[in-house]
Subunit: 444 residues, 2 copies
């Protein structure tokens, strides 16, 4: 992958919750981002309205400026995180026309003037990326545009607004009324002081327009979207839906009707609790895609928040920087972290599930627990479901051996393996029936 040594400059417009995290990563992880681009990158400046305003991450004073145009005119890639139509649109157009790559997360702008900006980018032959505009950290726009570019998408259906999903989830799980759930969301920072754009469905409608445009390769705008919010959803609606096995979600739906066109709609929707989207809880987002060849696909992850969303912005930034500087070919299977080595399984940390047949006598449990303790492996759960006769069949007659099932906490594979070896040597242990590894969800 060809690359030059001169640093590639980045201009950041806006330093809100997402912008602050993008700035932090570009400063603290400059080496990482440079290695991913294949050329050194440098954050040249951050344009803000007020240089004194408090931020999630303290941006070095020398990087801050109030002159966005001057910044746009001097960098290789512009990252627009101002939101709203203006001055965002003018600054993006200015950047594209002078040949700078642009990364934006501005869904309102894309759902209004996206086709126009894309045409300007195509004419200037520079990248315009906006993965962060839909689904926060979830890679969804690039897969739709590129991975599925050889297929025909028939339907896209997504939970793309975390605020409304949190509110509906609260109403469903706690029986709360809409107003109470909304206030709770505001208290936790999931909803803004003026929640209109979220609860009336406008935010989801902008995303529906973008998903429909990319999914069906036709330029739709937010005006093409039929939009109903969740303010009319009552707790009795949710109760009645639950009674019939449904959950109510605010969905952004883009559906193709062959030979006719597409319908784009946002509205509260009943989903069977068995549907993959039904179990998407709280502030998480998920997008369900149906394509003629691929069939059903689902993409799931964190739909909002400065840190998660910055991941999507930085991924776009790396892509844009690569195509500004190189042929745009990703490094693929060629290594860039040459220090990374493969470790033996003994170095892994995991949990074990151990199923033992032991002599059914006093003190056995203590003796077994001691073996784990000696190897510094802590036990999460220990069960004695029944007992076994000599032929290994479970029975309830206590004059035969007992079964003991143990699940450990995280420990090094080596310690776990050594524990099992010691158990096998114990006279009270008749057999180690099975040893299996356990993975627990990161969040639990």
């Amino acid at each position: 992958m060809a690359s030059t040594a001169a640093p590639l400059t980045i201009g950041l417009l806006g330093a809100g919750s997402v912008g602050s995290q993008v700035a932090r990563t570009l400063v603290e992880e400059r080496e990482l981002i440079s290695s991913r681009v294949g050329a050194p990158v440098r954050l040249a400046g951050v344009a803000v309205r007020d240089v004194e305003a408090p931020r999630d991450w303290r941006i070095p004073g020398e990087l801050l400026t109030t002159d966005a145009e001057a910044l746009v005119d001097q960098v290789d890639v512009v990252v627009e995180l101002l939101g709203g139509l203006e001055p965002a649109a003018s600054l993006i157009e200015r950047a594209l026309r002078r040949g700078a790559g642009v990364v934006t997360g501005n869904k309102a702008l894309l759902a209004t003037r996206g086709a126009e900006l894309a045409a300007i980018a195509a004419e200037a032959d520079v990248p315009l990326h906006y993965e962060a505009a839909v689904g926060g950290a979830i890679p969804i726009l690039r897969p739709i545009q590129e991975s599925l570019s050889g297929d025909r998408i028939t339907k896209v259906m997504g939970i793309v607004n975390g605020t409304t999903n949190y509110i509906l989830d609260q109403m469903d799980t706690t029986g709360a009324a809409f107003d109470d759930a909304l206030h709770e969301a505001q208290r936790l920072g999931y909803a803004e002081a003026d929640p209109t754009a979220d609860v009336e469905g406008h935010d989801a409608a902008a995303k529906a327009a973008i998903l429909g445009t990319l999914g069906f390769h036709a330029p739709f705008t937010i005006d093409d979207v039929h939009c109903e919010g969740i303010t009319q959803v009552t707790s009795s609606d949710i109760e009645a839906a639950a009674a019939s096995g449904y959950v109510i979600k605010l969905l952004a739906i883009a559906e193709r009707f062959d030979g006719e066109g597409a319908v784009l709609r946002v509205h509260p929707t009943l989903l069977p609790r068995t549907h993959p989207l039904a179990s998407v809880r709280g502030a998480f987002n998920a997008v369900f895609v149906v394509a003629e060849n691929a069939g059903e696909l689902m993409f799931y992850g964190q739909g909002a928040g400065g840190l998660p969303t910055s991941s999507a912005v930085l991924g776009d930034l790396v892509s844009a920087a690569r195509s500004v500087r190189t042929a745009g070919a990703p490094a693929e299977l060629s290594a860039t972290d040459t220090t990374m080595t493969a470790l033996p399984i003994t170095k892994a940390t995991t949990r074990y599930y151990v199923d033992l047949e032991v002599a059914d006598r006093e003190g056995v449990i203590a003796e077994i627990a001691r073996v784990f303790a000696d190897h510094h492996v802590s036990i999460e759960a220990m069960r004695q479901p029944g007992s076994v006769s000599a032929d290994g069949e479970v029975d309830t007659d206590q004059d035969s051996g007992a079964i003991v099932q143990i699940v450990t906490h995280q420990a090094r594979e080596k310690a776990l393996a050594d524990t099992v070896e010691t158990l096998k040597e114990k006279e009270v242990v008749r057999a180690v029936s099975s040893v299996l590894r356990v993975e627990i969800d990161q969040q639990s």
Copy 2:
């Protein structure tokens, strides 16, 4: 997006279940693929061992050849679907060195000589794509390589082998023994006559090496993967796991240990039934990714099969063709299907949930059902959960009105809306308490 008029030629190596579908799409959907590439494409030939062999789709005789090298030497993009190390490796290298883009789904080759081939592609500055190598139709490698290129992945954990997932799922749901579940899988075509590569975990191990290589930007091979298959998993293991709230899945895991390296492993794993991967059933695949900024992400879809997998191959083909012919910039928000128009919501087909308060008298249900029938809207379910007093509170005292809840089958939104309007005019209908749309999983 710049493009020339001369057709871009495609050479297909192999015409098995995936290759046949790729050939079919390139012939039957030539216009679609060409519009996605931004230049006309033409399938120049299909290299096979036996031109007479029966295939899922009858490839025109004039396209078939047994001379793979001659085909490779005359096309712009080579699609390798032969599988195995040779002659696949030599043919891919030959294509790359003469400047042709290459698309392959050959996980065994990539997990053995991937870094070497990627280096040749980078040196020749031509694309080498292989989305189909992991997760079938699921876009997972491109998101890891590109969407997450500005983040640091810490763990990748996937159900990447449909055969073993089907077998374990059968054992879990029907209590079947391993051998019986395997034979059922073979009968249904989910498992091959010689199931070794699947049940011993070799297929998953190759995918673990590819996921680890892309996720951690370091060149791992299948030899770096600790591999245990599912042949030792017994129905009593699965019973015991279930009793403790776990399900057993064969997972391909790549985990980073900062400052040390990475552990790549494939083995039967206990997962809490609440884990997002636990509900991935049958032949479906899913990959769970954890990154420092993005947090938890999950990608879900069909992991095997000729048709779904061809979607991933064709997506790579479009990308490779774009970068051979253009700057590689995707069309993004600029339209290519200019005929596609936005339709009003009345054109949508959906289902309705209607909650009515009606007079509690004889014949009322029949009268309401008649209204739906008159508008050609068929009723899927009708419930009468209780009755309501004048203040709308549910009570059980039958001298007040009754509640009727109806869920319809799919119908045009217009017919559904008209039905509701007519219901409102009915004297027996006291109130239409709520009208909500319903979406059902495509598969149900």
